[in-house]
């Protein structure tokens, strides 16, 4: 499984930058959802799920996305996989913004970006055998022309995820949770994507199975130089796998840094309390926020519960500052 060059058609109108662009660039991404009005005459409110998010991912890199449930991790992932349409912003893959493209022109990109989910049971069609499930993506993208070639390719790749031919004739309910996740991972990798999005893939698994799947992802990553956006709420898992970690809170970027830098030198009070909750540093875990309402664009999203918040935090949104060692942080404390 190598990287597939984009068809030249797509590059037609675009100007390709001279130096190689990062694999994935997310620029100023915004997604809001309508929420019920407080009264009949009030203006419709919008819940900001992802608030002007900016980040990029280099080839061969694993970027960990971490945050509490409801902070917009999955929304971000779904927008990158084009399962959701953002309100505004750009998502560039190899320097090409695919958001304006229609579904037909997007198809080659669809193959480049594959996603795996938390619950493989819901991803695998219960009425198809594993072989039929694995054949679907190959047929959909018209890869490996003949049926025999497809069969050979699937058999050959099964070993990669630690399964063998005997599984091909089974149905998904005959497999254990770990085996199902292996099949789901394989079906994403069969089409040789440039970017793999893994959304809480090990959260539902038992510890010993979780370790098996994590080792598998690590092996595959080294073998194929996979680029991965790895989403999890478990800091231990993310810090084991990811090269860089991005911390999100209420749809906004709080802090981003290489894994080691983030763990040794967390700057944002929210990151510090997350690390404390995971027993990685001394301190107290973050406070629970009740009913995440419509976040104001005019303040720091963490200001309400931040132990260090000042008046400035409640009136002005902190800009993202770029520090040494690839460290980015959005906090007024850092000025």
């Amino acid at each position: 499984m190598g990287f597939v060059q984009l068809p030249s058609v797509l590059k037609g109108g675009e100007t390709v930058p001279p130096s190689q662009p990062p694999l994935l660039q997310v620029q100023d991404l915004l997604k809001t959802y309508p929420v019920s009005k407080t009264s009949l005459f009030s203006a419709p409110n919008r819940f900001i799920a992802v608030n002007h998010l900016d980040f990029q991912l280099e080839k061969g890199e694993v970027l960990g996305l971490i945050g509490e449930s409801g902070c917009g991790k999955t929304t971000t992932a779904r927008m990158i996989a084009r399962l959701l349409t953002p309100d505004s912003g750009k998502i560039l893959l190899n320097g090409t913004d695919f958001l304006p493209l229609d579904d037909y022109d997007f198809k080659p990109f669809r193959r480049q970006i594959q996603m795996i989910f938390q619950d493989p049971q819901q991803v695998l069609n219960p009425s198809l055998t594993i072989e039929q499930i694995l054949r679907e993506p190959l047929i959909g993208f018209n890869l490996y022309g003949t049926a025999q070639q497809r069969r050979d390719y699937i058999r050959q790749q099964l070993v990669d995820v630690g399964l063998d031919d005997s599984y091909l004739t089974r149905y998904s309910h005959q497999l254990s949770g770990g085996q199902r996740q292996r099949v789901a991972i394989l079906s994403a990798l069969l089409v040789e994507p440039a970017l793999l999005i893994a959304d809480e893939v090990v959260s539902a698994l038992d510890l010993s199975i979780q370790a098996q799947i994590l080792n598998l992802l690590q092996e595959l990553r080294q073998k194929y130089q996979l680029s991965m956006l790895f989403i999890s709420h478990d800091l231990h898992v993310v810090s084991w796998l990811a090269d860089r970690i991005l911390v999100m809170y209420r749809g906004s970027l709080m802090e981003e840094a290489p894994t080691e830098e983030l763990l040794r030198n967390p700057i944002h009070p929210y990151t510090q309390s997350l690390l404390a909750a995971a027993n990685l540093i001394e301190g107290s875990p973050p406070q629970e926020v009740i009913g995440w309402g419509v976040a104001s664009a005019e303040c720091c999203p963490y200001a309400e519960v931040c132990p260090k918040s000042s008046n400035l935090c409640r009136t002005q949104r902190p800009p993202i500052q770029v520090l040494a060692k690839g460290h980015r942080v959005a906090c007024h404390c850092q000025q």
């Binding site: 038992d206 510890l207 370790a211 810090s239 997350l274 875990p285």
Partner: protein, 324 residues
């Protein structure tokens, strides 16, 4: 040494469940005891029989599940021998239970206050006065660190976060002033950050009310932060039991060792995680002396014949070749 009074004793408990048209034991020959004020953790993976054990103690086993053998003594009374009616005077009074999913434990159509009042009316027979009942509810809500209890009582479950609902559940189970609390994965569905807060609440409640706690979890960290003693359950059997610090720092059973080593962390970055291949054996394949043998790296032919119990003080293990 008999300083603590024994509250719960489980003797040779086996629970059989129907599977493929036959009954198979999902919990096998479980024996343990809890003294007053103890906090004991039961860890194991899914399918190891953790929840069945708790349900058996509370007398909440589903109808089709058979409790085949064993005795459960609570405060000297054998709960397996008394009538359903007599059992009801323990369940919800002396023994209460919290579950993983607070959203399904609370009725979505009723306010928190209504649901709490109902519990007080039915389960706190010592207080009849409505004012005193209200007072008990407010105290209970304050104990679980919920701000503004009066407002909380007016809310419906969907208006609260998962962490808050779990706090309400804890307040509710504490209303009858139970002596034994069975907590079945109470923090599993929560975020890591909220999880810590709920654990703190449970710890405070336990200390304040001298509560006996049986904590069921698959999360080693949860058990570590809360429990004095830990029992490791594998395929329906307790394979290792002892003081938490000993079990987690000097595990004797290869399975416990594997569980601890398979935990990803930053310190192990770049190194593959130690893994045990395979899965927990399905119910129909559990008639062998050691159920871990097929996955065990230290397995010898001796393990297929018999398995011995090794004891080191109050730390014991069911294995022929204990580690460390």
């Amino acid at each position: 040494m008999e300083t603590k009074k024994e509250l719960l004793r489980v003797e040779h408990l086996s629970v059989s469940v129907p599977h493929l048209g036959q009954y198979y034991p999902a919990v096998q020959d479980l024996s343990f005891s809890l003294a007053v004020g103890d906090s004991v953790g039961l860890i194991g993976e899914s399918g190891s029989g953790k929840s069945l054990t708790a349900q058996a103690i509370a007398g909440l086993l589903p109808e089709q599940v058979q409790r085949s053998q064993g005795h459960i003594y609570f405060d000297g009374v054998d709960l397996t021998q008394i009538s359903e009616e007599a059992l009801r005077s323990y369940r919800g009074f002396d023994i209460t239970m919290v579950f993983q999913d607070s959203a399904t434990s609370l009725n979505p159509l009723l306010t928190i206050g209504y649901q709490l009042r109902e519990v007080v009316k039915l389960h706190c027979r010592d207080i009849q006065d409505p004012k005193a009942q209200e007072q008990r509810i407010l105290e209970s809500l304050e104990e679980v660190d919920l701000d503004n209890p009066k407002e909380v009582m007016k809310k419906y479950p969907h208006q609260m976060s998962g962490g808050q609902r779990q706090r309400v559940m804890l307040a509710m189970v504490m209303l009858p002033k139970p002596r034994l609390l069975l907590a079945d994965e109470p923090t599993t569905a929560l975020d890591l950050t909220t999880q810590q807060q709920i654990l703190n609440v449970i710890r405070n409640l336990q200390q304040k009310h001298h509560l006996t706690l049986l904590m069921i979890s698959h999360n080693i960290q949860v058990v570590h932060s809360l429990c004095e003693r830990t029992m490791v359950l594998y395929a329906g059997e307790i394979v290792e039991s002892g003081p938490t610090d000993l079990v987690l720092q000097k595990p004797l059973h290869p399975y416990t060792l594997a569980l601890l080593e398979s935990k990803p962390s930053f310190h192990r970055k770049g190194q593959p995680l130690e893994i045990v291949e395979g899965i927990v054996p399905p119910l129909e394949q559990r008639s062998i002396p050691c159920n871990f043998a097929p996955r065990c790296p230290f397995h010898t032919p001796q393990c297929d014949l018999a398995v011995q119990k090794h004891e080191q003080g109050d730390h014991w293990v069911l294995c022929n070749y204990p580690r460390s």
